[in-house]
Symmetry: C2
Subunit: 367 residues, 2 copies
């Protein structure tokens, strides 16, 4: 076994999920993530925790949904009981075809998703962490060879997380103390209020209220957005390739939009509900182990030198206890990414915090 598989398992079990003796652990395994599942099982056993392994196959799920009449039962009792009685939920993704669900009609997918809302909430109530095992199918999606993709994925996952968490704490401090963020680059001059919000130092550990491995971003919940922004990092939204989305905001709401490819997908997202036209997240990528885009939001949005904004639902973790502000609510949360590596800067309360990808506390920063 590649030693990095073992290291990945160790980061997941110890740093991310903090699994302890006696914990009841659910491990959800993708069909091609077997190798990582074996390594995780070993670590879970070493810690003296209890393991239930579930099988997360898009082919199984597609067959089930297509055959069903579409009137799905809400939160089946056996699945809900499994999650509600667990302490930890680990998702180790990795299938054989990232397009496997493509011929499941959108209304069936939505009905299925809606029937599982209570299950999702139950999962969020326990210590959950999502990661992926590098598979051939993910390499293909990234337009990379399998070997190259594995190197890429492990560079992103096998960080010195403690040190990265310390660096990210600088960014969290700036955002927690600040009231207004401004992003400036080509076709972009956007201001957002972050007054009264708490930034999350997303250091890939439940101890940091961070649930992705890899992570490496600091995020908060903006409002009162004004101006324009260009998302120049290509992405796949609802199965379609979308390029150069440009949004114009007034009074916190999108009032104009365009895209160089599949513009209609952006329109559909904005039409979902009122919350879909407002921002739910401002995230600052700080994982320098991620050095290229791979058409996977798990990795792309964490990349150093990028900033992402999400239309739709905000995270409760950005609202301090006792806050009277309401988190933006929506059925969607759609992340879009802009490259901040060149000819760009980010200001907080008029002071430049990042210029051309370099943060104020890093070598080579120039005001």
């Amino acid at each position: 076994m590649d030693a990095r598989v073992e290291e990945h398992a160790e980061v997941l079990v110890d740093w991310s999920a903090r699994i302890e003796d006696g914990d009841d652990v659910v491990l959800s395994v993708g069909p091609d993530a077997h190798e990582l599942a074996v390594a995780v099982a070993e670590k879970v056993g070493e810690r003296g925790a209890n393991l239930v392994t579930t099988y997360s196959s898009d082919e199984v799920s597609r067959a089930y949904k297509l055959a069903h009449d579409g009137d799905f039962d809400e939160a089946p009792a056996h699945e809900l009981a499994l999650v509600e009685n667990a302490d930890v939920y680990l998702s180790v993704g990795g299938g054989r075809n990232t397009s496997e669900g493509s011929d499941v009609p959108a209304d069936v997918r939505e009905a299925y998703g809606k029937s599982r809302e209570q299950l999702r909430e139950a999962r969020m109530d326990i210590d959950w962490v999502s990661t992926v095992h590098p598979t051939r199918s993910l390499a293909q999606q990234a337009n990379m060879s399998f070997e190259e993709y594995r190197d890429f994925a492990y560079d992103a996952v096998l960080r010195d997380w403690e040190t990265l968490a310390d660096q990210m704490a600088n960014m969290k401090d700036v955002l927690d103390d600040g009231s207004e963020v401004r992003l400036v680059k080509e076709d972009t001059d956007l201001t957002m209020s972050i007054e009264g919000r708490t930034a999350v130092n997303s250091a890939a550990s439940v101890a940091y209220d961070s649930h992705n491995l890899p992570s490496g971003e600091v995020f908060t919940a903006p409002e009162a957005t004004e101006g324009e922004v260009l998302f120049d990092v290509p992405m796949t939204l609802r199965g379609e390739r979308v390029q150069d989305v440009h949004l114009t905001f007034e009074d916190g709401e999108v009032v104009d939009y365009s895209a160089a490819q599949n513009e209609s997908v952006v329109g559909e997202i904005l039409e979902t509900d009122a919350g879909a036209r407002r921002l739910g997240e401002l995230g600052i990528g700080m994982n320098r182990g991620i050095d290229q885009f791979t058409d996977s939001i798990l990795f792309d949005e964490k990349m150093g030198d990028t900033v992402h904004l999400a239309l739709g639902r905000a995270y409760g973790s950005n609202f301090p206890e006792g806050s009277e502000d309401e988190a933006n609510d929506s059925a969607v949360h759609v992340d879009m990414i802009t490259d901040m590596s060149e000819d760009s800067f980010m200001e907080v309360d008029g002071e430049v915090v990042q210029r051309n990808g370099t943060f104020r506390w890093e070598d080579g920063f120039s005001e």
Copy 2:
């Protein structure tokens, strides 16, 4: 997809498990049983039932057990809750190496098994069915090519179960009405009392209190066994190849034993506890779709022209409600098979019921 995979799924879901709208179903999937799992998911979706898929990998399980300190928690709450809240438990086996657990020390395996007793009981309390997807690893164990093995497995599984159940009802009637069974062949003359017992017509359906697919046997719980018996069908017991086990019974207990190969394994089994020296089951194989031995008890013991006896634990289903007899109790239940196709007969209360493999109600039977 091989059409037989779909048929296998349909038999499992409809004939065996009788899955209905709204049922909460757990589907346990082996790493190489993916194809059958997809077909089963489709049928479960068609019926409008709810699906949780678990992953049953011997590699995952081995890694977990070897890493654990061996002091396993009893029936973890999350796993118990999953099973207790389910209506149906389907196990679709099929791994990549039937010897994967071979280097897990026996005491660890036993401790793990013991910690899961309550889970096993909870599973037995709901509608459970075990089957296997024909895999390359099972073909290898059977000493067959993959194609040949698949033909073999589907011949066994895809029976006209309704007709077979009717045929087996004849055997059940004979056993229910009878008091004493006698088996006679080379090195074999054994009598057993079956007075006051109810035979189970094991027709591969929960509706018949039968939980294996394939099945095709009628079984009861004997006692007061006297005489000798030769098990001339080779088998693997505790990972060891065992040949020609010969047992001598007095007053219902084994008083002498021998084997042509790995005799010590038989000795170990007999030493487990007092119940391990008595019979827990007399089973009569009636599945004529199974025409050769494949070193898998799921198939071998159902083969037409064979009879099997199990040392150890008896099934409660053989004891009619209100019976004051106690089922033989033991930590083990070890099936051993004898070939009844030639120079042999079985009598019930002095009347020949089967001679040289042919039953009384079949063409070609001679008293």
